[in-house]
């Protein structure tokens, strides 16, 4: 039995799954001592292209990040935290703390320095792309634990720019 901790939308759940069962059609899990039946697409589809899942008789259109850091469903994007509660160290397998380049471009300015304490939403960098200057903001409060770029540097898509821990 795998024990998976999942946090989203302000709720925390512990989901027990027997990984011995087939995972390509009907799956039964335990959540808070309740047994719930889910129906999933056949295997073969990459997880970030799954598209749908039926849980307890309710079909959900979903898009899930390949790193399990968010799920789009129920009309919005929800930040996920998924922990394998039986792993030797129970740290989240998702919830990436790194700030990545959302678009290729050139770093015009670095507004913070290593070790700075930042608030969520605080501008960290200015990235010029597609003829526009874009401020890159902190996604959560914390300490700037990594700063991988300097002003004038070209960056590619998803290149790590900084990390907040």
């Amino acid at each position: 039995m795998s024990k998976i901790g999942v946090t989203l939308g302000g709720y925390a759940f512990e989901v027990d799954i027997n990984p011995g069962q087939r995972m390509d059609s009907e799956v039964t899990v335990q959540v808070n001592n309740e047994s719930i039946r889910a129906v999933v697409p056949e295997t073969g589809t990459p997880i970030d292209q799954l598209g749908w899942i039926i849980v307890d008789g309710r079909p959900h259109e979903i898009v899930i990040d390949s790193e399990l850091s968010w799920i789009k469903a129920c009309g919005g994007l929800h930040v996920l935290e998924v922990r394998d509660l039986e792993a030797p160290v129970t740290r989240p397998v998702s919830l990436d703390s790194r700030i990545k380049a959302p678009i290729p471009g050139v770093i015009k300015a670095v507004l913070v320095k290593l070790g700075d304490s930042v608030e969520a939403g605080q501008p960290l960098l200015v990235l010029e792309a597609m003829k526009m200057e874009n401020e890159i903001h902190a996604t959560k409060p914390g300490i700037v634990s990594q700063l991988a770029v300097t002003a004038g540097q070209k960056v590619t898509l998803n290149e790590v720019l900084a990390e907040i821990t």
Binding site: I4, L8, E67, A73, P102, N134, H137
Partner: protein, 493 residues
Amino acid sequence: MFKKILIANRGEIAVRIIRTCRDMGIQTVALYEESDRGSLHVRLADECVQLQSSSGFFDQATILEIAQTTGAEAIHPGYGFLAERPEFIQACAAASITFIGPPIDVMLSQHDKIDVLQKIRAAGFDTMNYSLMSFGVADFVELRAEADRMGYPLAIKSCIGGRGRGAHIAPRAERLERAFQRAQTETKIIYGDQRVYLERVIRPAHLIGVQVLADDYGHLVHLGEREGSLQRGNQKMIEESPSPVLMQKQREHMWQTAIEIARLVNLRNAGTIEFFVDGSGQYYFSEIKPRIQMEHPVTEMVSSVDIVREQIRVAAGERLSITQADVQLRGHAISCRISAEDPWHHFMPGSGRLQRVRLPAGPGVRVDTHAYDGYQMPAQYDPIIARVIVWGTDRDDCVRRIQRALAETSLIGLPTNLPMHQLIVNHPDFIAGNYATDSLQREIPAIVLTERDARDLAVAAAIIYVRRNLTRPSDIPARLLSGWHQSSRRLPE
């Protein structure tokens, strides 16, 4: 009628124009840049030519040459790019190729925005308050003096008519300089001209445009109005027709004004007369958009008139296929611009492969898009993916239908503003038709998950987590492997 038309544009508007050409039995020539060769506008055309120079769709000489080589008799410019360049219209005429859009005299008369405002005001119509002078790079002192005299909030706009881009708003004096600098930088990039002028901003206001069609024989019809107040960064996000704020009498008055202004400037082909409406219901002329607008399908849905077809007919020297008496405005239409901008990441535009595309369909739904499953979206263009347009018998009907249509849309592979559209169309203010130009400045509260939905999604995430771990490593694409394993290794102990 033309036998072959070259479309000097790309993406959804090129697809839109090609469709009407095919519906009319006219052949089409598409243009594309290397990175965009898989776009639907290329695939649906009869012929296609690659643009080789770095100026791409701005390369007037090359585009005219392609028209001549391929035997195209006319060019449809869509919006943006060459849609409002008087010198291009002149070059077309010199090459004996028909430009599908308002003729050169209209375009020249609309080129200088201060001139236009002067002319309209002189004819007795209300306009926005504006500065009589224009300002160059070095004129900040003069601009500040004029701004202080006019009062805030103010918009700093390019003197050259265009896509509504390059405009920046100074809500108060302290923000004037920054807005001035930004406006000038962008205006230069977009229009190649740095002169700006000031316009008083009414806030909150409604931005409403009346669609006008006119032929060379003096026939002029309007197809009702469109409300385009829901904007983010000067780009309309959602449009609807009719406007939810006008009463029938106001509406008819505005239509009449639009027709009179169109006659005044001798507008031909297709254009939109745009007004701002203030809280008291007074309306003020803002500008004339002498081209097809991105949001034209809402008007097509309520009027059953194909605006592109009328454009082509008029350009070919034919009469409009309809008179004002034929135009019956029926029901209500709403349009959402779905683009690859990430609302959770400062609306950063995205590019790359759309892995899965499922567009809404069924009764009353129309989609205009150049994208499809597997489309590789290039980075260098406007990140629009699709326009979803719905029709309903009345506004309530239409609102429920746009809610439904967005809920059935699925776009996987790129971040999109789809969830933001869903938030808006499900918001009580939108449902009540109670919104204005400042509405999207306010924070839209995020979707609150019910505990049951949260539990369902938690179950989904847990199953997907286990299933991913069960998948044989060789089945996991390399980019996923590196993504996940590296990130979990990299997390501090």
